[in-house]
Amino acid sequence: MNEIAVQTKDVTPQAGAAPARAAEGLQARLDATDLPQGGFTAAARREALDRLRQMGLPAPRDEYWRYTDPRPFNAPVPQPIAIEERAPDSPLFATLDRLTLVFVDGRFDADASDPLALEGIEIATLAQADAAEDHWAAGLYGVLEAAGQRPVARPFAALNTAAARDGVLIRVTGRPTRPVHIMHRRATAEADVVWHHVLRLEPGAELTLLETGMVGARSNGVVEADLARGAKLHHITAKRAGHQKLGLSHIFARVDAEAQLKCFNLSVNGTLMRHEGVIDIVGDDASAHIAAAVLGDGRVGAFHHDDTVFITHGAERGESRQVFKKVLKNGAEGVFQGKILVKPGAQKTDGYQISQALLLDEASQFLAKPELEIYADDVKCSHGSTTGALDEDAMFYLRSRGVPKDRAIVFLVLSFLADALDEIEDEVLRGEISDRLEAWLTRRAAK
């Protein structure tokens, strides 16, 4: 990489509290939103709505939304987007032995899904479970989201808790032999999808959760994941080319002692995307990794992709890793806001953060805001951010062997993304993602 610029801004986000602002825009947004009453979630939904009214929707001048325009998410309804033709690729992970759950415009499609049964897990859909007053997820639904509202407000997550109709509720007690695969599909052009998953991993339990497909003209997803001692969650999401136009998601995770969280996201296209990871390490010797590989091409339309991460170390000997890689061309924009907060007493924390952009032309740009806030003295934390162009020496080396220019670019892009992909532990899953990436890149190389 030729490092040509490191853009960092040293601004600590403030708790958003501007009730006055909340009024009109929020009311219009809520009027257009379908707000279920809820069964076991009823109280959580009411509280979330109260939180949201307190916070208001974000304004473009909000520090935490400085680089990403919230207005398309604030708008009462999204612009309809025609249902795209089938992608030329077969669906990801199609050949794996897995439990498949299909959601169409955010609603569970039982006919298209496998029966909700897998050894070692208890699984229900939110819509189903919410018909009842009691459920194990009552202790988590909206709870991790609420906890994640401090010190930075995340209004869309509160809106999600209030408005979500469906999603999955998974309690893992064992080590299921198969991953759970959530596939999203679109059916109507104007769908404004809100989904909310709750995952509870009991001590020592393990789960791989895959999430792929296309989600609405606009989507707002929340995952609340609670990892008990020694649990292990591997969460892999991949959105197919051009499918998700306006997307917003949050993962709120609580990671207890010796537990391991690994999140990986592959994003390709989409007009405006923001993914927030809010991770609390609450037990000793725990680890949390969050990574993304992003391909942005502004040729077909605007592309703006924002990854915002907030990792809190609240226990000893915690290890965290953020690896974010974005490849941008034709005026695409990438944003990374990543924070590591080490609380008093969280000694021997090992926190690492890297965000890098590969700009394939001068019209594209990357903005990064890495932050460290450390209140313990015996810790090791590092962050780095680079923006660079293709390495000309490497390009020439490849081409001098007869590899055509387009193909050489594909190699170098894959090379650039390799560290992020390495965060996918499972070789088979990594291979699938890597092959898919290569196919996409090859197809688009010439454009």
Partner: protein, 251 residues
């Protein structure tokens, strides 16, 4: 095979002339060596021939079997049969050695309108050649040149050369960084490739390599030009006396 006529090259970024009317001809089947002091332009010549950006040819030409190289893209030159073993091979993390090599072999074949090599054929060939160069299977699987020692990188260059089977091989200081045994392996590799329709241009500082790979002609380069050409004895003379007298005598 390779004909370079009155080649003048300057840098694109600054007004600096590096090659000053260089002429050289390597007939088919021959091995020519180029020796010359540091900074005389040897690597620049190899880059200009293989199409690296950043240089401007202000005068002269270079042809491979009559076709001008200078207008071609680097990959076209490769497909036409030109190969450069780099003085400093590049590390490319995340790209497997084998994946890359197979892509290169098949891209060249495709460009020449030949059938691609099946993965079976390719594997067989690569294993055989790697064995000769004592490159183990684990190294083949690793990302390109990443974590390779200096000598391993050079052997990997020769493996690529053997797999791509170019007609015109340019080797830029392939011997530097090689231990005595590796030098023998590499030389054996090169000698095995020698044939009536393949030529070599070997850039080196040391006469030792030329004991293993017997050159037909040795050229002395200075200040961007060939100032003297002769038989293998010229390399011996350089080894013993240095460049001083030679260059003075050439004026």
């Amino acid at each position: 095979m390779l004909k370079i006529h009155n080649l003048h090259v300057k840098l694109e970024e600054e007004d600096k002339q590096i090659l000053n009317g260089l002429s050289l001809e390597v007939p088919a089947g021959q091995v020519h060596a180029i020796m010359g002091p540091n900074g005389s332009g040897k690597s620049t010549l190899s880059y200009v021939l293989s199409g690296r950006d950043g240089y401007v040819v202000t005068e002269g030409d270079a042809t491979l079997d009559g076709d001008s190289l200078l207008e071609m893209e680097p990959e076209q030159r490769a497909a036409a049969g030109l190969f450069l073993a780099f003085q400093y091979p590049v590390e490319i993390p995340g790209v497997g050695n084998m994946t890359f090599l197979r892509t290169a072999v098949n891209a060249q074949r495709k460009a020449r309108g030949e059938d691609e090599m099946s993965s079976g054929e390719f594997l067989k060939a690569v294993r055989e050649k790697a064995k000769d160069l004592q490159i183990d299977a684990e190294m083949l699987k690793r990302p390109m040149n990443v974590g390779f020692s200096g000598g391993e990188k050079k052997r990997n260059e020769i493996l690529q050369m053997a797999m791509l089977a170019p007609r015109m091989c340019i080797m830029d200081e392939t011997d530097s960084g090689l231990d005595v045994d590796a030098m023998r392996l590499v030389s054996d590799g090169v000698n095995a490739l020698r044939s009536p329709d393949r030529s070599f241009l070997v850039i080196t500082h040391y006469q030792r390599l030329l004991n293993h790979i017997q050159p037909d002609v040795v050229h002395i380069m200075s200040n961007g030009r060939i100032v003297k050409s002769g038989g293998p004895e010229l390399a011996l003379q350089v080894e013993e006396e240095g460049y001083g007298d030679l260059l003075a005598e050439a004026g």
